[in-house]
């Protein structure tokens, strides 16, 4: 068992078996979160660094907690407080971090492919904490963990991803992961926020929220970046909400027990109505805890191992 790889850069590269293993490993990790002593010594002496070129409080906190619960030490480098702003190159920053003895680097970056780039530069493990509009694997894994915890499996599940698909790394990672696990994925949003040829990833494309929501088991609502409106990609937030906002009426089109996921932070009243966000069908709060468990699992599974497979007794 174990992920026989140095890095986790996306779900595109993971097999169904590897995804299964990560989800399975997160189950005992989640138990640790509810203990009084939320710490295991597994990663004692290891250093996990978060390198964030984009502001994100929750993802960074989640990774740092996960690392600490696993017994690792953490350090964080955020763009606002580092030499990055003084124009240090990405390579120099990466090499500096590595020379401090870091074992795992969590990277968040606004440019797609930066995680691949970092993985080539450093010997340390790299976990992609979100790169541009490409992938956000840990978010998708925690979404999948949440779905599996509530529904048991993915096979045949109708999962709707609703919103700005074009700019969403969460959507791409979810599509990779869910389709590999046998779910039926529907993507829906305005055509101007739908990447061309996304149907080639094995998803059904909708432009009408009502059509996509019909009979859905899971609805993953994406955060709408309000600056997209300034670029003219949709006319107004008001019209967006009218067409694509997940309202109680629209939620009724899905199965009565449909789950509502949102990666956060939410724009209440824009992509999701407050009544839906706070409804019993919403898993938004649980997703946060599950995120820590998933990240603990990944940190464990990427731990450097030797070549022997001998045990102790």
């Amino acid at each position: 068992m174990g992920l026989n790889r140095k890095d986790v850069l996306g779900l595109q590269e993971l097999t169904a078996e590897e995804i299964q293993l990560i989800l399975d490993t997160a189950v005992p990790m989640k138990d640790i979160l509810s203990r009084e002593i939320k710490k295991v010594p597994t990663l004692r002496g290891k250093v996990v660094a978060t390198l964030f070129y984009e502001p994100s409080t929750r993802t960074r906190m989640s990774f740092e907690l996960a690392a600490k619960y696993m017994g690792a030490d953490t350090m964080s480098l955020a763009v606002a407080t580092s030499s990055v702003q003084k124009g240090e190159s990405f390579r120099d920053t990466a090499q500096t971090i590595e020379s401090m003895g870091v074992d795992t680097v969590i990277l968040r970056h606004s440019v797609s492919g930066s995680a691949q780039y970092l993985a080539k530069i450093v010997k340390a493990s790299v976990i992609n904490g979100g790169d541009g509009t490409r992938e956000h694997p840990t978010q998708a894994l925690l979404d999948m963990f949440t779905i599996r915890e509530k529904r048991g499996s993915f096979a045949g599940m109708k999962v709707v991803i609703l919103g700005d698909i074009l700019h969403s790394r969460v959507a791409r990672s979810n599509i990779w992961g869910l389709t590999k696990m046998g779910a039926e994925v529907r993507v829906v949003g305005p055509p101007t926020l739908m990447p061309p040829e996304i149907d080639k990833l094995g998803v059904k494309v909708y432009y009408q929220a009502e059509d996509a929501l019909e009979g859905a088991d899971v609805i993953n609502v994406l955060r709408l970046q309000l600056e997209r409106q300034q670029k003219g990609l949709f006319p107004t937030v008001r019209e967006y909400h009218q067409l694509y906002g997940l309202t109680p009426a629209r939620l009724k089109l899905a199965r009565p027990d449909a789950l509502v996921l949102h990666p956060g932070p939410m724009n209440r009243g824009v992509e999701i109505a407050p009544e839906v966000a706070d409804s019993p069908q919403s898993t938004i709060v649980e997703q946060v805890a599950n995120g820590v468990a998933i990240r603990m699992a990944l940190l464990y599974l990427l731990m450097e191992g030797g070549s022997s497979s001998e045990g102790i007794s």
Binding site: S89, V111, S112, G113, Q116, Y117, G132, P196, E197, I198
Partner: protein, 440 residues
């Protein structure tokens, strides 16, 4: 001083020659082409009459002797960006790549939008360059697309065509004016066709791979809409247009139709667009970042077809060197461009000749007489009495591309590590051997 290039297969599309022969060069001019079988004495005939003159013999048996190759689209970066490339290093890269003439774009610093810069380039090339350099002048001041530059003065200073390459002339009225004004000297306008609103923030070709990689796409229509506009303006004005770096199937079709309608248009394609597709970007290697972007396989096949049916008559590298530091960064932050001079010949040989896409004669024409005619240069032919620019190509030579061996300062090549066949082995400019066996 004489040079005898011996025993090669001479291919000269301008004169319809394809024979095994010796080429005798005297005083920097083609003195004779002596078909195989005629006596050695005849071959070196001149030497007998003038015993004091030395004859340098270059053995070319089994190799191709072709007119010196012309690259009508390079960026030499000087003045202003000498860390990327200089006229000295860029012309050496050209020589190593088998090119005897290069035509350089005006997006230097300052922009070649005034006669002084054009003259500087010509003088600098004369003193530091090793191949012929022909500068292109800017269409508009600062290539900002707002006001026409002093095109007549630029032409008088030595500019052989006009382009704002690197940037489109977004304003249709300015492009119309440029085309009309070009009638003064029947000057050639070389537009960089890209609608900036459609391509804004784009990093690669829009399509499946951009979707997959999460990189902002540059749609094919950003190029095609602009080509369509410029073709219509060329039709209206009757002026000459040469479309730089054509990259999409739609563009090829537009140009094909325009030619049928009698519009005075020619077009070029780069080796990298003929060989690579946007799938190459999946590596996130910034050496695949180029403008126009690497397109889809469908586009690539259409480019090959366009070359085969004569819609596209020129192969040009769009040699765009950058420093290592500029390219060693996140994909979005890297500048566009591929260092192309030193891989062009083996790339097109491997892709077009080995795979039998076009004939050898046609390929050589695309690199010699065709660009010469479009530019109005007395080059690209092995006619007796013409300046002796020659390239010798070894069609059997196979080697691995190593960017570390590039003499260009720009090591930004996506072909590093590729095994390619058909390399230039000698470059002769005005009778002088400037490259032999890869050494400049």
């Amino acid at each position: 001083m004489k040079v005898l290039v011996k025993g090669g297969r001479v291919i000269d599309p301008a004169n319809g020659l394809d024979l095994v022969a010796d080429v005798l060069i005297d005083q920097g001019k083609i003195a004779a082409i002596i078909p195989d079988g005629q006596s050695q004495a005849d071959a070196a005939g001149g030497a007998d009459k003038n015993p004091s003159a030395e004859v340098t013999v270059i053995e070319a048996t089994g190799k191709l002797i072709v007119p010196g190759l012309i690259d009508m689209h390079v960026h030499l970066r000087e003045p202003g960006f000498e860390r990327k490339e200089t006229i000295a290093s860029g012309t050496r890269a050209a020589a190593r790549g088998g090119f005897t003439s290069v035509v350089c774009m005006p997006n230097t610093q300052p922009v070649a939008d005034n006669r002084a810069v054009i003259e500087f380039i010509i003088n600098q090339a004369r003193s530091t360059g090793v191949v012929n350099v022909y500068p292109i002048g800017a269409i508009t001041k600062g290539s900002r697309g707002e006001e026409l530059s002093e095109m007549a003065d630029l032409a008088a200073g030595g500019a052989i065509a006009f382009s704002d390459d690197g940037r489109p002339v977004m304003n249709a009225q300015i492009m119309r004016l440029a085309l009309e004004y070009a009638k003064i000297g029947d000057w050639l306008i070389i537009p960089h066709c890209e609608d900036l609103n459609l391509s804004a923030e784009g990093q690669m070709n829009e399509g499946y791979w951009a979707m997959l990689l999460g990189l902002k796409g540059i749609p094919a229509v950003a190029e095609e809409a602009m080509i369509a506009r410029d073709l219509m303006l060329a039709e209206m004005t009757g002026s000459r247009l040469h479309i730089a770096h054509v990259s999409t199937a739609g563009s090829v079709q537009l140009i094909r139709e325009a030619k049928k309608r009698g519009i005075r248009v020619s077009a070029e394609v780069t080796p990298h667009h003929l060989v690579l597709t946007d799938e190459a970007v999946a590596s996130f290697s910034t050496s695949t970042k180029v403008n126009p972007p690497l397109r889809s396989e469908k586009d690539r096949l259409a480019l090959l077809e366009g070359l085969a049916d004569g819609t596209i008559e020129v192969i040009a590298t769009d040699h765009a060197p950058h420093t290592l530091e500029e390219k060693d960064c996140e994909y979005n932050y890297a500048p566009f461009g591929i260092s192309g001079l030193e891989t062009a010949v083996p790339l097109v040989w491997s892709e077009l000749i080995e795979k039998k896409v076009i004939s050898l004669e046609k390929l050589i024409a695309c690199l010699t007489v065709n660009p010469a005619r479009i530019l109005g240069l007395a080059k690209g032919s092995l006619g007796i009495g013409e300046e002796a620019d020659l390239t010798i190509i070894d069609p059997e030579m196979e080697q691995i591309v190593r960017v570390d061996d590039f003499v260009s300062q720009g090591k930004n090549s996506p072909f590093d590590g590729w095994q390619l066949k058909g390399w230039p082995v000698a470059t002769i400019v005005k009778g002088r051997v400037v490259m032999k066996n890869g050494q400049v």
